[in-house]
């Protein structure tokens, strides 16, 4: 419990910053929604002039773009990109900090098992992500209420918002795994940014070439807003892939963290 509380305290400021930034940006851009919908026909004609490839790359779906849920779903893509960076930073940083900060000797010479350390750290990370998501979802619902339309549904909107957490869990687990595989990470951001953007680019390429199977390869395509709006539920197959990856990455992280020698801090 002490490690869990220590990590919550250590990351509380950055979590507040991320939560406020994600919600703030969402609110800022959602405030533009009425502008886009003042004259739907004109905006639609403008967007139709874009090549389909560009619209796909930008995740603009003309069938849903002009509804509150559709517009939110469009913005959610970028929120998920930012949230993925937050989650992978957290996953990598929270595990690797003992080796990068050379505090592993201090912590692991205490009467505590290594698996307890990993559990406490990952539990703290999950709580921090949940807090971020609660703030984000609250902001989303508030906006939906303010911009209420007949076709907007708080349930669908919350379901879409929940995909932020699901994608974040993927990157949290990936970050934790990277932290135990790569010895002495000098800069967390230098590891996480290229990784997150690589997955994002895979998704963009999949959109450009209109390959639907890409949704099995990158978490950025696991839960597409347009599909959620249409189906009213999450894709079971990609949800299972997400869950399986998280379980595998976390399991491997435990195994490796418990077995690895702690390098001398000198």
């Amino acid at each position: 419990m002490n490690v869990f509380l220590r990590e919550l305290r250590a990351y509380r400021r950055s979590t507040i910053t991320w939560a406020v930034a994600l919600s703030g940006i969402l609110m800022l851009f959602m405030a533009l929604y009425p502008t886009f919908t003042t004259d739907v026909a004109v905006t639609r004609r403008l967007l139709e002039q874009f090549p389909e490839v560009v619209r796909n790359a930008l995740d603009i779906s003309l069938s849903t773009f002009f509804s509150v849920n559709g517009f939110f779903g469009y913005l959610l893509n970028f929120a998920i990109l930012a949230g993925a960076i937050q989650a992978m930073n957290l996953g990598t940083g929270i595990i690797a900090k003992e080796t990068t900060g050379r505090t592993a000797d201090f912590l692991l010479s205490k009467p505590i098992t290594r698996s307890t350390v990993v559990t406490a750290k990952l539990a703290a990370a999950v709580v921090l992500l949940v807090v971020t998501n609660v703030v984000f979802a609250a902001g989303a619902v508030l906006l939906a209420t303010l911009l209420s339309e007949e076709e907007s549904s708080a349930g669908t909107l919350l379901l879409m918002a929940s995909t932020l957490l699901l994608v974040q869990l993927f990157f949290l687990a990936l970050g934790a795994l990277v932290a135990v595989i790569v010895p002495r990470i000098k800069s967390v951001v230098a590891v996480t940014l290229p990784t997150v953007f690589a997955f994002y680019i895979v998704g963009m390429v999949g959109d450009v070439v209109a390959n639907e199977d890409v949704r099995f390869l990158t978490p950025f395509k696991f839960f597409e807003p347009e599909r959620i709006i249409t189906d009213g539920r999450l894709d079971g197959a990609t949800l299972a892939i997400d869950a399986a990856f998280v379980a595998l990455a976390v399991g491997l992280s435990y195994l490796m963290y418990v077995r690895e020698d702690v390098r001398a801090s000198t």
Binding site: N2, G101, R102, T103, F106, L108, S109, P111, A264
Partner: protein, 299 residues
């Protein structure tokens, strides 16, 4: 009972040697010195005992418990100070020490009182952030976190680096008090004078293997002593040809030689001399260490 016992404990880092078939036993209540130059395997031994690294082969027990299966249980009663200290820079010293104390089952208020008492003793400002502390003060934090929970076994890995002589003296005084309370101490150092001042027994480690374990007293007693005599009249070199004498140097009224053997033999020889002055020098541990190290086998 042995507090620490290792049997053929081996740790290799791939092809690199760490420790090889290391046999060590540290008795309950003793201060056990562990000396050897950098890279000899002192830290590897200590880190293996603490579960920070995993042994390649062999066994080790602490308080009779296997280090590979009872790590947390063992560490509950261990205080550890590494040679280099690194803590969380964003924490204040008091918060770090409370965090450290939170891992142990020791009474919280008694531990808090000991933290305050030790901080006073070492003149450490507990309200400062770790990041703002000098290296010496961080080392003091390390000492306090190692002692605050009243461990039964204190493991110190080259602990005095960064401490000024006055603080070192207080630290050694405190260690003797902890030892008097019943704590066993494993004291690793390459500064031999420190081991000589503090320890009951000493193990000399070379290239990952202990080559000699000896009571400090025995180690010093059994060694060569240097005699320097100032005589009233001219010295006759033939009078000093006795078993055990070596390195004889005679110059006018001054004679010096090394002697190893029964001390009565040399006092009988000196009895017939008209002495003005006599100087008998104890070899320091440094000389003894070099003696063993150069011989290599310790026998």
């Amino acid at each position: 009972m042995d507090v620490i016992e290792t049997k053929q404990l081996t740790k290799s880092y791939g092809a690199a040697r760490g420790i090889v078939d290391l046999d060590m036993s540290v008795r309950d209540g003793e201060i056990y010195g562990f000396i050897g130059p950098n890279g000899a395997g002192k830290s590897t031994t200590i880190r293996t005992l603490l579960g920070l690294i995993h042994p390649t082969s062999g066994t080790a027990t602490v308080f009779g418990k296997d280090i590979t299966t009872s790590g947390p249980e063992i560490r509950q009663q261990v205080g550890y100070l590494p040679s280099e200290v690194f803590y969380y820079d964003d924490m204040r010293a008091i918060d770090l020490l409370r965090y450290s104390a939170s891992f142990y089952a020791a009474d919280r208020s008694a531990t808090e009182a000991r933290i305050r008492e030790l901080a006073d003793m070492f003149d450490l400002d507990l309200t400062k952030k770790i990041d703002d502390l000098s290296y010496g003060n961080k080392k003091k934090v390390g000492i306090i976190q190692g002692l605050a929970h009243q461990p039964r076994l204190i493991i110190l890995d080259e602990p005095t680096g960064g401490l000024d002589p006055l603080i070192q003296q207080q630290f050694f005084h405190r260690l003797r008090e902890e030892n008097a309370r019943g704590a066993t101490i494993l004291f690793s150092s390459h500064i031999l004078g420190e081991v000589q001042r503090l320890c009951d027994r000493v193990a000399i480690i070379k290239e990952g293997t202990i080559i000699k374990v000896e009571e400090i007293r025995t180690l010093l007693e059994n060694q060569t002593k240097r005699f320097t005599l100032e005589l009233a009249g001219p010295a006759d070199p033939s009078r000093f040809v006795v078993d055990g004498v070596s390195d004889l140097a005679v110059s006018n009224h001054t004679v010096s030689f090394l002697f190893r053997g029964r001390i009565n033999d040399v006092t009988s020889m000196l009895a017939g001399l008209d002495l003005v002055d006599l100087l008998v020098e104890e070899p320091d541990l440094e000389e003894i260490f070099l003696h063993y190290y150069q011989r290599g086998d310790g026998r």
